[in-house]
């Protein structure tokens, strides 16, 4: 038996041996504390006292004092519309489309618990959100006018986060979420910027409207990953809890019409786990991670049409390659991804430069230097010419004392890399501007 096979075969037994220890005798301490502690009342969890059916269906408005409220609201709306028309008329602000190539703006990032922007050309850094709070993971809206980020607040010694939305200059911060989330939960903007979608690890997918009107809406129970919102229609890809296998489902933006787009078992070829799924920016294709029958523990990237047909591998790399963490180019013609190469003789894997492949086929181009052993965190510039790359392990760091890293700007055309000159301690997000 080869070493790799032996490792996987014996690991459960060995870990069982390593885990052996004396019977824990500290439960009495636990019970002493829980005996004095009241449970958090169920009513403090909105999902417990608002029936799911009520949350996921159209909101029923209370009829109390409607005319006065409606009259005031109409006056306010008229004032807002009037002010907006005057503002737009005087500023002629041109916004980029929510998807597709755009002009490069500033880059936002977190460092030492604050949010900054940097102009990639002039290197001018601006602190947009400061203060004693620990802020992390900033993300520009698709039109580049707002930033969503996580703000840490500990509850009873437990780390938790709120999602805060500000204008691009950091003004007008507003907490959007109504229940704490984890630093690794998925937060993504809707294409039109009207709502944020938050998917928590306990399988709850919640839509937070940003216009101040509708209450949070729990769309479904299941998994949603970043890139799951179709840019053109707002439809959402998800993996429902109710299906044991990793089938891919799709629902309408309001949470209705959930249906299987494609069951994993119907996909030809190897074992498709659909663990990482992203729409192409033009909404015409879906990329996902897949595993071949010849290498069930491997990982490659597959693409298929928007209706779930025509699934096939992106590259023809051998089973010795391991590909994941992919990002579509803004023009939907290329996919960049992390990759590792395994030495079949020793089983040793080595991280390789970020791979870039055309969806029309052809060789994989290595771009820039090899990143950290865990692969890189990276994103395309809005104009599609550059990959901004940094070590992957920073993605989950919210510790302001974390060691900072210098992002590397990789020219996709020739693969050359250049250090950006500023340091970050979280992933980065690039602002889109109108051309």
């Amino acid at each position: 038996m080869t070493t790799p096979a032996r490792v996987e075969r014996d690991l459960p037994t060995i870990l069982g041996d390593l885990a052996m220890g004396p019977t824990p005798e500290y439960l009495d301490d636990v019970f002493a504390q829980t005996g004095r502690m009241r449970q958090r009342p169920a009513w403090t969890f909105p999902e417990r006292w608002i029936p799911m059916a009520d949350i996921t269906q159209e909101r029923a408005y209370t009829p109390r004092a409607p005319w006065r409220t409606i009259a005031v609201a109409l006056v306010l709306i008229a004032l807002i519309i009037g002010a907006a028309i005057m503002y737009v008329g005087s500023h002629q602000t041109k916004l980029p489309p929510p998807f597709g190539p755009a002009k490069n703006g500033v880059v936002t990032y977190a460092a030492n618990g604050d949010i900054f922007t940097v102009d990639p050309s002039s290197k001018a850094v601006v602190a947009v959100v400061g203060g004693p709070e620990i802020d992390a993971r900033p993300l520009f809206s698709h039109d580049g006018t707002r930033i969503a980020f996580l703000r840490r607040h500990d509850i009873g010694g437990q780390t938790a986060f709120d999602v805060v939305v500000t204008a691009a200059d950091g003004s007008g911060p507003r907490v959007v979420t109504t229940r704490p989330i984890d630093v690794n939960d998925v937060v993504q903007w809707s294409p039109d910027g009207t709502f944020l979608l938050v998917a928590t690890a306990d399988g709850e997918v919640t839509k937070y409207a940003l216009d101040g009107g509708a209450p949070p809406q729990i769309l479904t129970q299941g998994r949603v990953v970043a890139g799951a919102i179709r840019p053109t229609t707002g439809q959402i890809l998800y993996d429902p809890d109710s299906t044991p296998d990793a089938d891919l489902w799709i629902m309408d933006p309001d949470g209705t019409g959930g249906r299987a787009l494609t069951p994993a078992t119907s996909l030809a070829g190897g074992r498709y786990d659909l663990g990482l799924v992203k729409w192409s920016p033009d909404g015409a294709m879906i990329a996902f991670t897949c595993a071949r029958a010849s290498a069930p523990n491997g990982s490659h990237i597959c693409v298929m049409n928007a209706d779930g047909t025509g699934a096939g591998p992106l590259t023809t790399e051998s089973d010795d390659w391991f590909e994941t963490d992919f990002v579509w180019s803004p023009d939907s013609t290329r996919i960049a991804f992390n990759r590792w190469l395994q030495d079949p003789a020793t089983g040793d894997t080595t991280v390789q430069p970020i791979g870039v492949a055309s969806i029309k086929g052809g060789p994989v181009i290595g771009a820039g230097p090899a990143p950290a052993p865990e692969g890189a965190l990276f994103d395309w510039s809005p104009d599609g010419t550059t990959l901004l790359s940094l070590p992957a392990r920073f993605s989950e760091s919210t510790d302001p004392a974390a060691v900072a890293a210098t992002p590397v700007a990789i020219d996709v055309a020739n693969g050359t890399a250049q250090e950006t000159g500023y340091q970050v301690s979280s992933d980065v997000s690039w602002q889109r501007l109108a051309n």
Partner: protein, 186 residues
Amino acid sequence: MDQRALVERARRGEHDAFTELARDAVTRLDQVARLVLRDPELARDAVQEALIRAWRDLPRLRDPERFDAWLHRLTINACLDLVRRRRRRPIEVEISPIDPPTVADASAAIADRDLVDAAMGRLDPDTRAVVVLHYFLGLPLTEVAATLGIPIGTVKSRLHRALGEMRIAIGSEPPATSPVPGGQVA
């Protein structure tokens, strides 16, 4: 009484039911925490924190059938929170020299165990958590991703790297010393 009924009762605030659930789970949780943290004292703190939080937040758990998975997640999160909090302070570590094993047939299993132990020590806690959930608790990768709240691609890359360490450790000798300057985080 079956676990579902116990969870239902505990959710209604019955301490006896929670006590029974905790007694059933504590050994497994302690093992998970010790594998992730590699420190019995820290593991105890993590499990205590997880169980206290489990009691406090039990009314939040919608599906009693998910109790075990939920408890595993609380435990892993408590472990990783402890690690993150300790990163803010200097960590005293003890570097134990690892003797190359003399692998004879009778002692091969013990040698493998020691080598895997050393390889686990070289992994960061987040990666160890993936290994423990998948290979010790036997969770499928999708469940590991859901438990840790990370993309499955990240789970796979971490597992891939971890297995690489194990293969190097078992397949070649002598094992490399810790690449972490100053030793490995206990």
